[in-house]
Protein backbone atom coordinates (compact mmCIF):
# COMPACT_ATOMS: atom_id res chain seq x y z
CA UNK A 1 0.00 0.00 0.00
CA UNK A 2 1.22 3.41 -0.81
CA UNK A 3 2.07 5.64 2.11
CA UNK A 4 -0.72 7.77 3.57
CA UNK A 5 1.79 10.55 4.16
CA UNK A 6 2.87 13.10 1.59
CA UNK A 7 5.59 15.46 2.66
CA UNK A 8 7.43 18.33 1.09
CA UNK A 9 10.42 19.60 3.00
CA UNK A 10 12.38 22.39 1.40
CA UNK A 11 15.54 23.97 2.72
CA UNK A 12 15.94 27.70 2.45
CA UNK A 13 19.24 28.63 4.02
CA UNK A 14 19.11 27.63 7.67
CA UNK A 15 15.36 27.13 7.72
CA UNK A 16 13.58 24.02 6.52
CA UNK A 17 9.91 24.44 5.70
CA UNK A 18 7.81 21.32 6.01
CA UNK A 19 4.33 20.69 4.62
CA UNK A 20 2.59 17.39 5.24
CA UNK A 21 -0.68 16.03 3.88
CA UNK A 22 -2.01 12.78 5.29
CA UNK A 23 -4.85 10.60 4.06
CA UNK A 24 -7.10 9.90 7.02
CA UNK A 25 -10.89 10.13 7.61
CA UNK A 26 -10.44 12.10 10.89
CA UNK A 27 -13.94 11.11 12.08
CA UNK A 28 -14.75 13.12 15.20
CA UNK A 29 -17.36 10.72 16.58
CA UNK A 30 -20.07 13.43 16.41
CA UNK A 31 -21.19 12.97 12.81
CA UNK A 32 -24.09 10.70 11.79
CA UNK A 33 -24.27 8.79 8.52
CA UNK A 34 -27.30 8.73 6.17
CA UNK A 35 -29.00 6.06 8.34
CA UNK A 36 -28.69 8.22 11.44
CA UNK A 37 -26.00 6.05 13.01
CA UNK A 38 -23.08 7.79 14.62
CA UNK A 39 -19.82 7.29 12.76
CA UNK A 40 -17.35 6.13 15.44
CA UNK A 41 -14.43 8.38 16.25
CA UNK A 42 -11.39 7.60 14.12
CA UNK A 43 -8.71 10.22 14.05
CA UNK A 44 -4.94 10.67 14.23
CA UNK A 45 -3.85 11.46 17.77
CA UNK A 46 -0.19 12.09 17.35
CA UNK A 47 2.01 13.04 14.43
CA UNK A 48 5.75 13.31 14.92
CA UNK A 49 8.58 14.66 12.79
CA UNK A 50 12.16 13.61 13.49
CA UNK A 51 15.38 14.90 12.04
CA UNK A 52 18.70 13.25 12.84
CA UNK A 53 17.12 11.21 15.66
CA UNK A 54 15.75 14.35 17.29
CA UNK A 55 12.10 15.31 17.53
CA UNK A 56 11.51 18.62 15.71
CA UNK A 57 7.71 18.82 15.84
CA UNK A 58 4.84 16.92 17.48
CA UNK A 59 1.18 17.43 16.72
CA UNK A 60 -1.43 16.24 19.24
CA UNK A 61 -4.71 16.12 17.38
CA UNK A 62 -8.36 15.64 18.29
CA UNK A 63 -11.32 14.93 16.02
CA UNK A 64 -11.59 18.63 15.19
CA UNK A 65 -8.86 18.49 12.57
CA UNK A 66 -10.18 18.34 9.00
CA UNK A 67 -10.32 15.13 6.97
CA UNK A 68 -7.05 14.43 5.14
CA UNK A 69 -5.16 16.71 7.51
CA UNK A 70 -2.62 19.29 6.44
CA UNK A 71 0.02 20.89 8.59
CA UNK A 72 2.87 23.27 7.92
CA UNK A 73 5.80 24.27 10.13
CA UNK A 74 9.48 25.20 9.88
CA UNK A 75 12.61 24.32 11.81
CA UNK A 76 16.32 25.13 11.89
CA UNK A 77 19.44 22.97 11.82
CA UNK A 78 18.85 20.75 8.79
CA UNK A 79 20.40 20.89 5.33
CA UNK A 80 19.52 19.75 1.83
CA UNK A 81 19.64 15.96 1.46
CA UNK A 82 18.97 15.27 5.15
CA UNK A 83 16.19 12.86 5.97
CA UNK A 84 13.04 13.70 7.86
CA UNK A 85 11.08 10.87 9.47
CA UNK A 86 7.33 11.29 9.84
CA UNK A 87 5.03 8.97 11.81
CA UNK A 88 1.45 9.04 12.99
CA UNK A 89 -0.67 6.93 15.31
CA UNK A 90 -4.47 7.11 15.48
CA UNK A 91 -7.01 6.38 18.24
CA UNK A 92 -7.42 2.80 16.98
CA UNK A 93 -3.68 2.14 17.23
CA UNK A 94 -3.09 2.21 13.46
CA UNK A 95 0.16 3.79 12.40
CA UNK A 96 2.16 4.82 9.36
CA UNK A 97 5.68 6.08 8.82
CA UNK A 98 7.62 7.55 5.97
CA UNK A 99 10.87 9.35 5.37
CA UNK A 100 11.37 12.34 3.12
CA UNK A 101 14.52 13.92 1.79
CA UNK A 102 14.89 17.63 2.42
CA UNK A 103 15.09 19.45 -0.92
Amino acid sequence: MASTIRVRASSNGDITEVQALIQHPMDSGFVKNAKGETIPAHFIQQLTFEHDGKNVFTADWGGGISKDPYVKFAFKGAKKGDELKISWVDNKGATDTTTAKIQ
Binding site: G64, A74, D96, T97
Partner: protein, 164 residues
Protein backbone atom coordinates in the same frame (compact mmCIF):
# COMPACT_ATOMS: atom_id res chain seq x y z
CA UNK B 1 7.82 -13.42 -28.11
CA UNK B 2 6.51 -10.03 -27.25
CA UNK B 3 3.77 -11.39 -25.04
CA UNK B 4 6.27 -13.46 -23.07
CA UNK B 5 8.33 -10.35 -22.56
CA UNK B 6 5.37 -8.42 -21.31
CA UNK B 7 4.31 -11.22 -19.01
CA UNK B 8 7.82 -11.56 -17.70
CA UNK B 9 8.14 -7.90 -16.93
CA UNK B 10 4.71 -7.88 -15.31
CA UNK B 11 5.73 -10.71 -13.00
CA UNK B 12 8.97 -8.96 -12.28
CA UNK B 13 7.10 -5.80 -11.39
CA UNK B 14 4.81 -7.75 -9.06
CA UNK B 15 7.79 -9.30 -7.33
CA UNK B 16 9.42 -5.90 -6.96
CA UNK B 17 6.21 -4.44 -5.59
CA UNK B 18 6.04 -7.31 -3.13
CA UNK B 19 9.58 -6.63 -2.03
CA UNK B 20 8.75 -2.96 -1.67
CA UNK B 21 5.75 -3.76 0.49
CA UNK B 22 7.83 -6.01 2.71
CA UNK B 23 10.44 -3.29 3.05
CA UNK B 24 7.72 -0.78 3.97
CA UNK B 25 6.24 -3.10 6.57
CA UNK B 26 9.70 -3.65 7.98
CA UNK B 27 10.31 0.08 8.18
CA UNK B 28 6.88 0.66 9.61
CA UNK B 29 7.36 -1.79 12.47
CA UNK B 30 10.57 -0.36 13.78
CA UNK B 31 9.34 3.21 14.38
CA UNK B 32 6.08 1.80 15.77
CA UNK B 33 8.10 0.38 18.63
CA UNK B 34 10.16 3.52 19.06
CA UNK B 35 7.80 6.44 18.55
CA UNK B 36 5.23 5.81 21.30
CA UNK B 37 8.04 5.28 23.79
CA UNK B 38 9.63 8.58 22.75
CA UNK B 39 6.30 10.37 22.76
CA UNK B 40 5.46 9.03 26.20
CA UNK B 41 8.75 10.30 27.55
CA UNK B 42 8.58 13.78 26.03
CA UNK B 43 5.01 14.76 25.48
CA UNK B 44 2.24 12.38 26.36
CA UNK B 45 -0.97 12.69 24.32
CA UNK B 46 -3.23 14.94 26.46
CA UNK B 47 -6.28 12.65 26.32
CA UNK B 48 -8.20 14.48 29.09
CA UNK B 49 -7.71 17.93 27.59
CA UNK B 50 -9.28 16.78 24.31
CA UNK B 51 -12.49 15.83 26.17
CA UNK B 52 -13.08 19.23 27.78
CA UNK B 53 -16.14 21.28 26.81
CA UNK B 54 -15.05 24.85 27.52
CA UNK B 55 -12.04 27.08 26.84
CA UNK B 56 -11.38 27.51 30.55
CA UNK B 57 -11.41 23.76 31.23
CA UNK B 58 -9.06 23.06 28.32
CA UNK B 59 -6.61 25.71 29.51
CA UNK B 60 -6.79 24.36 33.07
CA UNK B 61 -6.31 20.73 32.03
CA UNK B 62 -3.59 21.45 29.50
CA UNK B 63 -1.54 24.12 31.24
CA UNK B 64 -2.92 24.68 34.75
CA UNK B 65 -2.49 28.44 34.43
CA UNK B 66 -4.33 31.39 32.93
CA UNK B 67 -3.71 32.88 29.50
CA UNK B 68 -2.93 36.53 28.94
CA UNK B 69 -4.06 38.11 25.66
CA UNK B 70 -1.07 39.28 23.60
CA UNK B 71 -0.75 41.25 20.38
CA UNK B 72 2.47 39.37 19.73
CA UNK B 73 0.37 36.34 18.83
CA UNK B 74 -0.81 36.69 15.23
CA UNK B 75 -3.63 34.50 14.04
CA UNK B 76 -4.54 34.26 10.39
CA UNK B 77 -8.11 33.00 10.03
CA UNK B 78 -10.89 33.79 7.55
CA UNK B 79 -13.64 36.25 8.57
CA UNK B 80 -16.20 33.93 7.03
CA UNK B 81 -15.69 30.22 6.43
CA UNK B 82 -18.12 28.92 3.84
CA UNK B 83 -17.32 25.32 4.64
CA UNK B 84 -16.94 24.54 8.34
CA UNK B 85 -15.38 21.16 7.52
CA UNK B 86 -12.20 22.82 6.29
CA UNK B 87 -11.17 26.12 7.87
CA UNK B 88 -7.53 27.08 7.24
CA UNK B 89 -5.97 28.74 10.28
CA UNK B 90 -2.37 29.66 10.90
CA UNK B 91 -0.52 31.31 13.73
CA UNK B 92 2.82 33.00 14.16
CA UNK B 93 4.38 34.88 17.04
CA UNK B 94 7.35 37.07 17.82
CA UNK B 95 7.45 35.74 21.39
CA UNK B 96 10.70 33.99 22.35
CA UNK B 97 11.14 30.49 23.81
CA UNK B 98 7.86 29.10 22.51
CA UNK B 99 7.29 25.53 23.69
CA UNK B 100 3.76 24.83 22.47
CA UNK B 101 0.86 26.20 20.44
CA UNK B 102 -2.77 25.10 20.86
CA UNK B 103 -5.95 25.76 18.84
CA UNK B 104 -9.38 26.03 20.52
CA UNK B 105 -12.86 26.42 19.01
CA UNK B 106 -15.31 27.47 21.76
CA UNK B 107 -18.51 26.19 20.10
CA UNK B 108 -17.23 22.77 19.01
CA UNK B 109 -18.39 19.68 20.97
CA UNK B 110 -14.80 19.21 22.07
CA UNK B 111 -13.11 22.56 22.34
CA UNK B 112 -9.47 21.55 21.92
CA UNK B 113 -8.55 20.98 18.28
CA UNK B 114 -4.81 20.56 18.33
CA UNK B 115 -1.72 21.11 20.40
CA UNK B 116 1.66 21.44 18.74
CA UNK B 117 4.84 20.91 20.70
CA UNK B 118 7.66 23.19 19.58
CA UNK B 119 11.16 22.07 20.61
CA UNK B 120 14.10 24.50 20.58
CA UNK B 121 15.14 25.18 16.97
CA UNK B 122 11.61 24.90 15.59
CA UNK B 123 9.93 28.16 14.57
CA UNK B 124 6.72 29.22 16.33
CA UNK B 125 4.70 29.23 13.10
CA UNK B 126 2.05 26.61 12.42
CA UNK B 127 -0.65 26.28 9.77
CA UNK B 128 -3.40 23.68 9.79
CA UNK B 129 -7.01 23.06 8.72
CA UNK B 130 -9.73 22.61 11.30
CA UNK B 131 -13.42 21.71 11.56
CA UNK B 132 -15.97 24.16 12.96
CA UNK B 133 -19.50 23.14 13.94
CA UNK B 134 -20.79 26.72 13.70
CA UNK B 135 -19.81 30.36 14.05
CA UNK B 136 -17.44 30.54 16.98
CA UNK B 137 -14.56 32.21 18.66
CA UNK B 138 -11.26 30.63 17.70
CA UNK B 139 -8.50 30.97 20.28
CA UNK B 140 -4.81 30.30 19.89
CA UNK B 141 -2.70 29.65 22.97
CA UNK B 142 1.03 30.13 22.88
CA UNK B 143 3.17 28.86 25.72
CA UNK B 144 6.42 30.82 25.84
CA UNK B 145 9.04 31.09 28.55
CA UNK B 146 6.75 29.30 31.00
CA UNK B 147 3.89 31.79 30.45
CA UNK B 148 0.70 31.44 28.48
CA UNK B 149 -0.44 33.97 25.86
CA UNK B 150 -3.53 34.00 23.67
CA UNK B 151 -5.24 35.58 20.68
CA UNK B 152 -8.89 35.17 19.66
CA UNK B 153 -10.99 35.86 16.63
CA UNK B 154 -14.58 35.15 15.66
CA UNK B 155 -14.95 33.08 12.51
CA UNK B 156 -18.40 33.00 10.91
CA UNK B 157 -19.38 29.64 9.50
CA UNK B 158 -21.98 29.31 6.74
CA UNK B 159 -22.17 25.50 6.64
CA UNK B 160 -21.13 23.60 9.78
CA UNK B 161 -18.52 20.89 9.54
CA UNK B 162 -19.19 18.80 12.62
CA UNK B 163 -22.87 17.90 12.89
CA UNK B 164 -23.22 16.40 9.38
Amino acid sequence: MNTTDVRFSATRRLILQGAGAVALVGLGNLPFGLTPALAAANDKYPEEAFKQKSDADVIKTLYGKTAEPSDKVKMDAPEIAENGAVVPISVSTTLADVTSIAFLVSENPNVLIAKYNIPAGTLPNVANRIKMAKTSNVTVLVEAGGKLYSASKEVKVTVGGCGG
